[in-house]
């Protein structure tokens, strides 16, 4: 079982597609937006006149779409993500990940089912309440069996969830061996996969954000603050 985990880890690494490189206009578009966000967050370090100049420039540029990666696409509705080859590639990457996870899982489950279902594998050295029956004796249909007996199928599940520290020890903490973390990661990915936002809209909303800023300067009264602090 540990070996399957390790195998899966390396298979994931093999199947991982390198993140696609952005073209220069895309880099420019993204970082210009970042610059505007920086200006919005840290406006208080520059003087009011400098801020006004920058604001006027950026708002105008954003409204004209000067920083857009492809100005032609402006105002058009977004194309269907299924037809977009870049999107397809992302989907393929996800599919590959899923397949790599599913295949060994199915194989092992089939194997376990075929060979181990229906008999108990060990007896716990301490008594338990009957509530543990469903957890410890899946696959065994006897009602009167003592709860201390653990069926092989249940044992398989228990170890599966308990192996994470072992994988961490062998493969390093950021491994892809355990499917529990895999599923978590996918859950987190899902909202991000939604339709990408239109950059033009982002720019316009950022321009609005800039417009409403009320400027104050951090240097205002700094000498008094300093004197109060140091004397």
């Amino acid at each position: 079982m540990i070996l399957t985990g390790i195998l899966r880890h390396y298979a994931m690494i093999l199947l991982q597609s390198a993140p696609k490189k952005q073209t220069l206009p895309q880099v420019r578009q993204q970082r210009s937006l970042m610059r505007a966000i920086n200006l919005r967050n840290n406006f208080n370090v520059i003087s009011a006149s400098s801020f006004q100049n920058r604001k006027a420039f950026m708002v105008q540029a954003f409204k004209d779409g000067a920083f857009l990666a492809d100005p032609e696409a402006r105002g058009k509705p977004r194309p269907n993500p299924m037809t977009d080859p870049a999107m397809m590639e992302g989907m393929m990457g996800m599919m590959k990940g899923n397949v790599a996870m599913m295949v060994p899982q199915t194989l092992i489950m089939g194997w376990i089912n075929a060979f181990f279902s229906g008999f108990v594998i060990m007896k716990l050295p301490f008594p338990l309440t009957p509530q543990f029956k469903s957890m410890l004796q899946s696959g065994v249909g006897t009602r009167d069996l003592d709860v201390r007996w653990v069926s092989s199928l249940s044992w398989y599940f228990l170890t599966l969830f308990g192996l994470q520290p072992v994988y961490n020890f062998i493969l390093g903490s950021n491994n892809a061996a355990s499917q529990v973390t895999q599923q978590m990661a996918q859950m987190n990915q899902m909202p991000g996969m939604g339709p990408e936002q239109d950059p033009d809209k982002l720019f316009l909303s950022e321009a609005e954000n800039l417009e409403v800023i009320e400027h104050y300067w951090i240097l205002d009264g700094v000498e008094d603050r300093l004197l109060a602090k140091l004397t």
């Binding site: 490189k21 952005q22 073209t23 220069l24 880099v27 420019r28 970082r31 210009s32 970042m34 610059r35 920086n38 200006l39 967050n41 840290n42 406006f43 208080n44 370090v45 520059i46 003087s47 009011a48 006149s49 400098s50 006004q52 400027h215 300067w217 951090i218 240097l219 205002d220 700094v222 000498e223 008094d224 603050r225 300093l226 004197l227 602090k229 140091l230 004397t231």
Partner: protein, 358 residues
């Protein structure tokens, strides 16, 4: 590998660079010991990111101290690990070739190489930066500025590049542009006290160089400069450059004479001499300064009162004296200062003392 190699200070002083590069033979020998064949080497090789950062810093130190052979070995190790096409390795290789280039022609061929690379992949930022640095080294500041502006157009969130641009503008005496660039740096890293102090220095230089006949502008520039220094001290206690500037900004009694230090090297803080002094003399000259200089339309701040400036000056003097004294005594916690800066501060204090004697 030593800690200073893995995590060196932002600007490595020459002595430290020498010490780092002297470790090169030992480190390089250590790591090139016998290694197991491929499948087994996977088990034994302990690969940490620090190893490679260490190699990179070691290579830079070796290049600085002229140990080109060790630098070559470091570069080869990095290339072996990350491949020829890794952007960072490409930049390092370019740096190595620049360092060993014999003449101007060799530099030009390297420059053409960079152009080729950029034609293929214009997003290769390390190489773009190398290109700017090479232009600067080839003594073509105008071209370097153009290249850097191009880079910043594509990537305007790069604080390092903005700071470099500010320096380039400053060497061409374009103060307004330099100040703009530094403002961009501050927008990205709002709490960088050294940039605040640098801004104060440039504001001081520019207001002395450009506005010497216009008292209103001069005063506005000096006020902002003083406030920048205050901010840098507020962000970083005991920041020597901040106090130095603060002491300088206090106006000098004879205000028209000291223009000559402005033309000297801008990287020393000497020209910063007399900012507060200027400010004082200006303030005392205009009897009612506050309403005149404050321009509410642009939100400019009113100049501070005379008493505040005097108190700031006293504070700066006391603090500078403390720093110089404690640094000379080698007290623990006070020894991190750049020696040249401490000497300059001592000299500034000495000059003041002389005047009082007179």
């Amino acid at each position: 590998m030593a800690a200073e190699l893995i995590n060196p200070p932002p600007s490595v002083p020459p002595a430290l660079a020498l010490r780092m590069s002297q470790q090169a033979p030992r480190i390089l020998q250590q790591s090139s010991g016998p290694s197991l064949p491929y499948p087994l080497s996977l088990l034994t090789a302990s690969e940490a990111p620090e190893t490679w950062i260490g190699y990179e810093n070691l290579m830079l130190a070796c290049l600085r101290t002229g140990d080109d052979r060790s630098a070559r070995i470091c570069l080869e190790k990095l290339t072996q690990r990350f491949g020829e096409d890794n952007e960072r390795v490409m930049a390092l290789r370019g740096m190595y070739h620049e360092a060993v280039a014999e003449d101007y022609k060799a530099l030009e061929s390297i420059f053409r190489g960079y152009e080729e690379v950029l034609k293929k992949d214009p997003t290769n930022m390390p190489i773009r930066k190398r290109r700017v640095a090479l232009l600067k080294a080839m003594n073509r500041p105008i071209d370097a500025t153009t290249a850097l502006v191009g880079l910043l157009d594509a990537s305007p969130t790069d604080a390092e590049a903005w700071a470099e641009l500010a320096d380039l503008y400053l060497t061409q005496n374009l103060y307004a542009q330099a100040i703009f660039s530094l403002e961009e740096v501050l927008l990205i890293t709002p709490n960088a006290w050294n940039i605040h102090a640098r801004m104060g220095e440039i504001l001081y230089l520019s207001s002395l160089a450009t506005n010497s006949n216009n008292d209103g502008n001069l005063m506005r520039g000096l006020c902002e400069s003083m406030r920048r220094f205050c901010r840098s001290i507020e962000l970083c206690d005991n920041y020597l450059r901040g106090y130095y500037g603060l002491k300088l900004v206090r106006p000098l009694a004879h205000f028209h004479s000291p223009q000559q230090p402005l033309s000297t090297n801008t990287s020393t803080n000497n020209p910063l001499k007399q900012t507060t002094k200027h400010l004082l003399s200006l303030l005392s000259k205009t009897s009612k300064p506050a309403p005149a200089a404050a321009d509410p339309q642009f939100g400019d701040l009113a100049p501070p009162s005379l008493a505040t400036i005097e108190r700031l000056h006293e504070l700066a003097t006391a603090k500078l004296a403390e720093i110089v004294r404690r640094n000379a005594a080698g007290e623990s916690g006070w020894d991190g200062y750049d020696q040249a800066e401490v000497i300059a501060a001592g000299e500034l204090l000495g000059r003041d003392a002389q005047k009082i004697e007179r």
